[in-house]
């Protein structure tokens, strides 16, 4: 039996990789992927806790998170396409029209 702490440690590691990726990467798509990685860290955490607490709420929550992440991906990629059409790039450093 794998102890709960291992799952939670993996979840934290996944989440931190996501945070680091979001903060250091400069491509919009990769930043978006990092957010997904963070969400999956959360999902793993919730599922593991749900199993060990013997409560179904965590698993239900995970289903909702996965569904919302799919909707979020649809909108995010739509915005990324609109951005690419107007700028021909999805690099964050080129997003410099708004500042002050």
């Amino acid at each position: 039996m794998i102890p709960l702490s291992w799952y939670m440690a993996l979840a934290v590691v996944l989440f931190c990789i996501g945070v680091c990726g979001f903060l250091t990467r400069r491509n919009v798509i990769v930043m978006f992927l990092s957010i997904e990685l963070m969400l999956n860290g959360v999902n793993l955490n919730l599922v593991a806790l749900s199993h060990f607490l013997e409560s179904l709420r965590g698993q239900t929550f995970t289903f909702f998170i996965i569904t919302v992440a799919a909707a979020e991906a649809a909108i995010g990629l739509g915005i990324a396409i609109a951005l690419y059409r107007s700028r021909r790039t999805v690099h964050v450093d080129s997003l410099n029209q708004l500042k002050g």
């Binding site: 939670m8 979840a11 989440f15 996501g18 979001f22 919009v28 930043m31 978006f32 957010i35 963070m38 969400l39 860290g41 959360v42 955490n45 919730l46 806790l49 607490l53 409560s55 709420r57 965590g58 239900t60 929550f61 909702f64 998170i65 919302v68 909707a71 979020e72 909108i75 995010g76 739509g78 915005i79 990324a80 609109a82 951005l83 059409r85 107007s86 700028r87 997003l95 029209q97 708004l98 500042k99 002050g100």
Partner: protein, 479 residues
């Protein structure tokens, strides 16, 4: 084993306003698609739908449905009213603004309505799951609204910045929620408070980590420094009418879940989150007010002012008392009218092809259009907090609540920054009244705009002179 599920129809009653708005949203898209010639009725349909929902919410009885997931209490009714009035004002203004920027009509109004449904659910959430779903239902349409005007270059940049920051904040929030779930074994906000007490978790390091993640997520959502960096860019890049909506609707709904979780879910941790929020509120007021001083764009100045006002609204929340929360609620109600009014004047200045967003464009507005200048004067006085406008009443009760809770230094800072804010608000007034106009075109008013401006004026002046009923309502909402 197959078990039958019985549906408790009594539970459906409290969510009827949300269901009504969802059907209005679908109807708006359908009408836009199948009878394109009737598009001018879409804003009025939205207004009628929101008014009906508002009436239903005002008439609803307190109830707890879906096993504690959906609460209809005074608190939620108050926040729902603010959000719906905000949506109605936005719709009335959009009817004017579409002459300046041609955005797709059906999509625009239905996204607005769907976002309103999200806000209503956030205000009513009694469970972290429902809270998250409401939050995303509110946020996803707003991301799309920001980027809806694709012809302009700036909007997609604003949309992607908003989207990435919003997604990041949601992930932080979720990780905090998963830790809270792990410690208490429940996602019910009311139960979490009880369990923290009975399990003696008050000083548990994991719970404090969860609290800091939750705080970071909420601060992103309501644009509190140092998590405000996306706000000016997004507010400036979005079409003005969407900016007006974003500076009120999502912010108010964000405060609804912020206070719901901290005040109802984690009151035992007030010793931890109170001082943190006091520092953040001071920082927010400093950043918002000082950066607004050096802005040349009126829209961007109002964006920084919106950040500063989030800082003021935090004052009531950080007090952690019933009095404080009701002061925050009162302030948000007043803030909606004054901020929407200021953005409405900004929309009046815009002409097709030329946004006229800089402070220079206000020059000599009093000579061009005395009414618009007088209205802007009232709204800016209220944003500064000068009596007898409503802004003063709102700020007064916030400061009183924070002072009563012992945050003297924060109150002193808030007063100082309020004084600083007078400089940049009154600079606009000086440009309007004491310089010569640069152009002579008169402003065009549409019927929707006149109604919206009238409502904002009544809100700002009426609540300033007779605040009693609003204060009573906010105090009763928490009983």
């Amino acid at each position: 084993m197959i078990s039958t599920v019985t549906v408790n129809w009594a539970d459906v009653g409290p969510i009827l306003p949300e269901l009504l708005l969802i059907s209005i949203g679908v109807l708006l898209i359908g009408l836009d698609l199948f009878s394109p010639r009737q598009r001018q009725i879409l804003p009025w349909l939205t207004v009628v739908g929101c008014l009906t929902a508002l009436a239903m919410i005002m008439g609803s009885r307190p109830s707890i449905s879906f096993g504690g997931m959906f609460l209809t209490d005074g608190f939620s009714v108050f926040f729902k009213s603010i959000c719906l009035v905000g949506v109605i004002l936005t719709t009335l203004m959009s009817e004017h603004f579409r002459r300046i920027i041609a955005m797709p009509q059906g999509e625009y109004y239905s996204l607005l309505v769907f976002s309103a449904v999200g806000m209503l659910i956030m205000a009513s959430a009694g469970d972290l799951m429902v809270l998250y779903l409401g939050l995303e239902l509110m946020a996803l349409p707003v991301y799309a609204l920001v980027g809806l005007h694709k012809k302009e270059n700036r909007t997609s940049e604003a949309a992607i910045k908003y989207f990435l920051m919003g997604g990041f904040a949601s992930a932080l929030l979720l990780f905090g929620m998963s830790l809270v779930y792990g410690l208490t074994g429940t996602t019910d906000i009311g139960r979490i408070g009880e369990l923290i007490n009975s399990l003696h978790l008050t000083n548990n390091p994991a719970l404090l980590a969860a609290l800091s993640l939750l705080l970071a997520g909420f601060c992103f959502k309501v644009a509190v420094a140092p998590f405000h960096l996306w706000t000016p860019d997004v507010y400036e890049g979005a079409p003005t009418v969407v900016t007006a909506f974003m500076s009120v609707g999502p912010k108010v709904a964000g405060f609804a879940i912020f206070s719901r979780v901290l005040f109802f879910g984690l009151p035992q941790l007030h010793d931890h989150w109170g001082p943190v929020l006091a520092v953040l509120a001071l920082l927010t007021m400093a950043v918002g007010n000082i950066t607004a001083l050096c802005q040349q764009s009126l829209k961007r100045m109002l964006a920084y002012s919106a950040i500063a006002h989030a800082g003021y609204a935090l004052l009531g929340l950080l007090a952690g008392t019933t009095e404080g929360i009701s002061a925050t609620m009162t302030y948000l109600f007043i803030y909606m009218f004054m901020n929407m009014g200021a953005f409405a004047i900004l929309m009046l200045l815009a002409t097709p092809g030329q946004p006229h967003e800089s402070i220079e464009d206000c020059k000599g507005l009093a000579a061009r259009s005395p009414i618009a200048a007088a209205l802007m004067l009232v709204f800016l006085f209220s944003l500064t907090g000068i009596p007898p406008t409503a802004g003063f009443i709102g700020k007064f009760y916030l400061l009183k609540a924070a002072f009563a809770a012992g945050y003297t230094m924060t109150v002193v800072g808030a007063v100082l920054f309020s004084a600083i804010s007078a400089y940049f608000y009154l600079r606009v007034v000086r440009y309007m009244y004491m310089t010569d106009p640069q152009q002579n075109s008169t402003l065009q008013y549409s019927p929707g705009m006149i109604v919206a401006l009238g409502l904002c004026l009544i809100g700002v002046v009426g609540l300033g002179l007779f605040p009693g009923s609003l204060l009573d309502w906010a105090a009763r909402a928490l009983l």
